[in-house]
């Protein structure tokens, strides 16, 4: 396990981490047993799921979307499943009931 890791001679002193935000390298998707799925048709773009997600893994995109009923939105909320731990807060808080927690199949 440790043989491939850098040795003491090449590590910076004092265990300083010089790469801010580098936990992005560590994917937490396998913590998940349930997967949130956003129904873009039902979503009213209220931002609450984005607000409350503990992982910050709901992404707010300036991506226009038009519903079948013709309602136009300038933004879209999408889930980056790399980090979603499947807590279900987004589904719980969604006022439009647009997020469903479905069983994760791997």
């Amino acid at each position: 396990m440790t043989a491939q890791l850098p040795g003491w001679k090449s590590l910076p002193p004092g265990a300083v981490i010089t790469r801010p935000g580098s936990t992005v390298e560590y994917k937490t998707h396998d913590w998940r047993t349930l997967r949130p799925v956003i129904d873009q048709e039902r979503c009213i773009r209220c931002r609450l799921c984005w607000l409350y997600c503990p992982e910050g893994t709901i992404i707010e995109l300036d991506k226009p979307y038009t519903t079948k009923a013709g309602r136009k939105y300038t933004r879209t909320y999408e889930i980056n499943y790399d980090y979603c731990k499947g807590c279900g807060i987004c589904a719980q808080e969604c006022p439009a009931k647009a997020i469903k927690m479905i069983e994760e199949v791997r």
């Binding site: 396990m1 003491w8 002193p13 981490i17």
Partner: protein
């Protein structure tokens, strides 16, 4: 640089003058006898505008060192000072300061550890710090105490070292005793130790994370680095003292040898008791034809094992004076432990005996030194197998 003005300074004041000359940016310390007058003097310098520094009036020594770590991590040249219970309260953060590789300098006016509470001098506090990963020096004169602070920053901030440094003096015997000292001026000090941040610092424009969690895959490598940094500290000490001599005309070695050229016997000691031993050698031993010398350990961490073993190898018998006790250890006094292993690990057969003396400010008298010398001489012709397995407790009532 000879012929410069000397001032009558106590050990503590001499240290404060040096911190001023080093233009420290942050002073974070808590009062404790016998260290207190160091920070009082520094406060006076800052109050009078003679030193441009932030003084943090922390509410404990734990916070004193924690704030020092914070300030150093933010790129400041930091100074602190403490003694005894203060060192004990700092203990947790001492390991962290060295492991985070922050070049903090701490002056220590050594004092006995409680209980019973005792404000007088021994090396209990100093020795308690001996495995915390700090470079450790102990001075023997007030001039040396002054110079050590300047040397300390030179060593601490060296990019190959980046370790905190303790510069110690004996409480009262030195901290409150006045001697003539030639202070180094700010300008010449800063030529010797320019203000240059050689370590990673906290800066929003270049954010780093300091003090992370080290799992078993990583922790050990950082400890191995600290071991190496200590070895580097020795190299840098040698370079720094050479440059110091060239600049300021005063020479320091990791070990001071007194009348060792022709010596057959020696006492090993640290701090002010070395002065008593020197006086004894000159006034008594040598007059009686005893070829006795003194090995004074100045640099305690990293321990100058090589030179101590070398000098011991030529002697008939050696006595080590400890002013602290390592309770329950296989040796007795901590300085003895280091001296023994330095010699015996190198196969040297000289008998080395341990004396524990002067605990809690108990004076170490001429008579005590005579007792120690006699016990050392009694090992003449013996080998290490014949050494008493228990230290001699000198000056204690039975």
């Amino acid at each position: 640089m000879a012929g410069k003005k000397k001032l009558p300074l106590s050990g503590n004041t001499a240290i404060a003058y040096a911190a001023k000359a080093a233009d420290v940016d942050v002073i974070s310390a808590y009062p404790i006898t016998p260290q207190t007058t160091i920070v009082e003097k520094l406060a006076e310098f800052v109050a009078n505008g003679e030193l441009n520094a932030e003084v943090i009036h922390v509410e404990s020594e734990h916070s004193a060192l924690s704030a020092a770590v914070g300030a150093s991590a933010a790129g400041a040249r930091v100074f602190t000072a403490s003694s005894s219970q203060g060192i004990a309260l700092m203990y947790e953060i001492m390991f962290i300061a060295s492991s985070m590789r922050l070049p903090i300098v701490m002056a220590m006016a050594t004092r006995a550890l409680s209980a019973p509470i005792n404000i007088w001098n021994d090396h209990g506090d100093f020795m308690a710090a001996s495995d915390t990963g700090w470079v450790m020096m102990m001075a023997h004169t007030n001039q040396e105490a002054h110079d050590d602070v300047i040397l300390a920053y030179k060593i601490a901030e060296h990019p190959d070292v980046l370790l905190p440094v303790i510069t110690a003096i004996d409480g009262y015997f030195m901290s409150h005793t006045i001697e003539p000292v030639e202070p180094i001026e700010r300008e010449e000090a800063l030529k010797f130790i320019p203000k240059k941040v050689t370590w990673r610092v906290l800066d929003p424009d270049n954010p780093v994370t300091m003090g992370p969690l080290g799992t078993p895959e990583w922790y050990y490598e950082f400890k191995r680095q600290q071991h190496e940094a200590m070895k580097k500290a020795r190299e840098v000490f040698d370079e720094a003292t050479k440059e110091f001599e060239k600049t300021f005309g005063r020479n320091y070695e990791p070990v001071e040898y007194f009348m060792m050229d022709d010596a057959e016997y020696a006492l090993v000691a640290m701090g002010s008791v070395a002065g008593n031993v020197k006086a004894y050698i000159v006034r008594e031993a040598r007059k009686r034809g005893i070829k006795l010398g003194l090995i004074r350990v100045k640099l305690f961490r990293p321990f100058p094992a090589e030179e101590i073993a070398e000098v011991i190898s030529n002697l008939k018998a050696v006595g080590v004076i400890d002013r602290a006790l390592a309770f329950g250890s296989s040796y007795g006094g901590p300085l003895y432990g280091d001296t023994l292993s330095a010699a015996y690990i190198r196969g040297i057969d000289t008998p080395i005996v341990n004396f524990v003396a002067g605990l809690g400010g108990r004076p170490v008298t001429f008579h005590d030194i005579k007792t120690m010398v006699d016990a050392t001489l009694a090992l003449d012709g013996k080998t290490r197998k014949d050494v008493p397995k228990e230290p001699y407790f000198i000056g204690v009532r039975e």
